[in-house]
């Protein structure tokens, strides 16, 4: 059971396995210390079960994509799950047909060898399995048709823009697209000579005969082409986006075991880079593309560019032009940690200036004795919106809560703006100072008004006391009855700040608070889909005019239900919207302070 035409396929498989294995071993070896410890601790844990379930759900069924768009999900699923089943059923078919064992390529070229090899015997349900194989092939082909449709008309698949691929990706895609039609034609040609195969293959066989082609002549050529397409695809796979097929499986396993990205790129980052299928879902949702029409800086291009070492300079530019609104991270069906990877690139770009030497002057700031009090951290931005901080002071007083406004006079930045720009060491100095101040003050809890600081305190500080954003804190006061507000008739549209919503998952507390003082309106893009206010600190490469375009889009979304007031929970968003002078913009703290009921 051998013919020379199977060689390209076999060579492709060997190349694929050898290169992927080599890459994976190298990557796993270059995991950071912390990541290695996490893996070692969890390697035999029960977490493997949810990991296997997620692998099945995401790598084969593409569940997250299906939830976005049914047709897009169908396309990805038919290609992944369909092909997977085609391979599995093909192997079962070959196994049943050759009780004495068979070479591994026999399953792939089964229809060619079936009438020719004497090792293949008649087996039970052979016709049903042949029919099943045809159904599966048809399933894959339908997905292929959608993939081709997406290239010319992507709207029905829920995508405005699709990814612009590089040359190797395009060659690999072409060979992938050739595989299935060639298989069908080759099997059809064999069928028209020997009459084997299922309904589809037989039909193709009759068509080939009907249009007057000599099956005996073209059959061998078609099998050669089929094998060549497979071989080309497999050889190119480790060097193209199709590496995601295997890599995503590993990524899910590592992620389920608790491995996270570090400040510096590691082997795990390589897994994330290769797990990107370049589906391009991130492009449509990015505000830099939506509002500014810059469509070559999204996550997909960032990862693609990082994988090519020659394009490092371009990667730096791409990483810099991002609002850090985290929308892409929510949309990414693979769940790649795009924000951290971006920060790694920024950090590398700014290595020369990341010198933590200029902050000696902070030594002069001393903590206050705040035992038993709440520490209140307004944040730098809140100093520009004094309405928020004075409203918070009013609320603390109304609730009878002793507090320490820790950055009232001499404010120290939380460090997150530096961190966002990749200045890791500098940020650490500020964090150390603030952490020291908070710990030594003896405060019982930390309340902050700025979601940027909040995210920093929660994720980067490892404080031993509870940290709350003021929306959560006010919600808690209202629930416990320490604070009483009168309900009004104000129609309020709430803007979810990126750092608070997508960053920290706080969506409900602000809504509950606003619901108790007025009528909360629904907007089209809210919660995890909320739009960036445009003025965040993440992007230093765009101009004020461009920021305003991003802002206007978010403002339009908020103004659509015709509210009296726009509410937000971030000093930066407040200032951004207030500048447009459309309607009053208030922070939740201000709205609550205005409707306080004094006992």
């Amino acid at each position: 059971m051998f013919d020379i035409f199977v060689l390209p396929f076999c060579a492709g498989v060997v190349a694929l396995l050898a290169v992927s294995l080599m890459k994976y071993i190298r990557w796993i070896n270059s995991f950071s210390k912390r990541q290695q410890i996490t893996i070692r601790r969890n390697i035999l844990s029960i977490k493997i079960l949810p990991a296997i379930w997620e692998m099945f759900r995401e790598c084969l069924l593409h569940w997250r994509i299906t939830q976005r768009n049914l047709l897009l999900g169908y396309m990805h699923r038919s290609l992944a799950f369909g092909w997977f089943l085609l391979i599995v059923v093909g192997f079962v078919q070959a196994l049943m047909a050759c009780p004495g064992g068979h070479p591994f390529y026999a399953a792939i070229f089964f229809n060619y060898f079936e009438p020719r090899s004497e090792r293949i015997v008649e087996f039970a349900h052979s016709q049903q399995i042949a029919t099943l194989m045809d159904v599966l092939l048809l399933y894959v082909l339908s997905g292929l048709f959608l993939a081709m449709l997406k290239k010319v008309w992507s709207k029905p698949l829920g995508m405005k823009r699709t990814t612009k691929h590089n040359l190797t990706d395009r060659i690999a895609k072409f060979s992938l697209w050739c595989i299935f039609p060639l298989r069908l034609l080759a099997e059809g040609a064999t069928s028209s000579i020997y009459g084997n195969g299922g309904f589809l293959v037989r039909w193709v066989g009759t068509v080939i005969a009907a249009i007057g082609l000599d099956s005996a002549e073209i059959e061998y050529l078609l099998w050669v082409l089929y094998s060549l397409a497979l071989g080309t695809f497999f050889t190119l796979m480790p060097f193209t986006r199709y590496m995601h097929i295997f890599t995503e499986v590993f990524l899910i396993y590592f992620r389920k075991n608790g491995v996270i990205e570090g400040n510096k790129p590691s082997g795990y980052t390589k897994f994330e880079l290769s797990a990107c299928s370049r589906c391009g879902i991130c492009i449509d949702h990015c505000p830099v593309n939506r509002e500014l029409g810059i469509s070559n800086t999204q996550g997909v291009y960032l990862l693609q560019t990082i994988r090519n070492k020659d394009l490092w300079h371009r990667a730096e530019q791409i990483a810099a032009n991002c609002m850090v609104c985290d929308r892409c991270q929510v949309e990414c069906p693979v769940g790649i940690d795009l924000a951290t990877i971006r920060r790694q690139v920024r950090s590398e770009a700014h290595t020369a200036i990341d010198k933590p030497v200029g902050y000696n002057y902070l030594e002069r700031v001393h903590p206050f004795n705040a035992i038993g009090r709440i520490a209140y951290f307004g944040g730098c931005m809140s100093h520009l919106t004094p309405g928020i901080t004075s409203a918070m002071e009013q609320i603390f007083k109304a609730a009878g809560q002793p507090y320490w406004y820790m950055d009232k006079e001499q404010s120290i930045c939380c460090g997150r703006p530096l961190l966002q720009q990749g200045l890791v060491k500098q940020a650490e100095v500020l964090r150390r100072k603030n952490r020291d101040m908070i710990t030594r003050s003896g405060a019982t809890m930390l309340v902050t008004s700025c979601p940027i600081c909040y995210q920093s305190f929660v994720k980067e500080y490892q404080l031993s006391i509870k940290v709350m954003h003021h929306t959560e804190y006010i919600d808690m006061l209202l629930r416990s009855g320490k604070l009483k507000v009168k309900a009004g008739s104000e129609r309020i549209a709430y803007h979810d700040p990126c750092e608070l919503g997508r960053g920290c998952g706080i969506y409900q507390a602000p809504r509950d608070v606003l619901g108790s003082v007025g009528t909360l309106l629904k907007t089209k893009e809210e919660r995890a889909n909320s739009l960036c206010c445009g003025y965040n600190l993440g992007n230093i490469s765009i101009s004020t005019d461009q920021q305003q375009l991003v802002r206007d889009a978010a403002l339009g979304n908020l103004l659509a239900p015709n509210p009296d007031t726009i509410a937000t929970a971030c000093p930066m968003c407040k200032r951004s919207f207030a500048r447009a002078n459309a309607i009053p913009v208030k922070d939740i703290a201000e709205i609550v302070a205005d409707s306080l009921v004094q006992d």
Binding site: H350, A352, I353, K355, V357, G358, Y359, Y361, L362, R364, V365, C380, M381, H383, L384, Q410, S411, I412, C413, G415, P417, L418, Q421, L423, Q426, L430, Y535, L537, I540, S541, S543, T544, D545, M572, R575
Partner: protein, 111 residues
Amino acid sequence: MSATDFGFTISTTRIVDFDAANRQRYEELLSRVPSYKYCIACGNCTATCTAGGMTGFNIRATHLKFSRGQYEGLADELNKCMLCGKCVLVCPRGVNTRALIVNMRKLLEES
């Protein structure tokens, strides 16, 4: 004759020699941060500055010194910035002051 210490000296010269000053870096800065062209040196950034509240750090002065090619001590001065972003929000001319600071620091480091 040994120098006599009068307890004071004449002040150092403050003449800016534009022939000697290397404007190349300044031109590069302008190309990297085009909005810098709109700066009217109003000083709002300096007034609101978080680091400026605790030190003599003066963004406007650093811009000015950089544009004149007076780089002495500038890098140390710029290291005081916490990049908090208040200056961007108060700028009436829409100058991207944070980009200005990051790029000044990079340009000083690159040479």
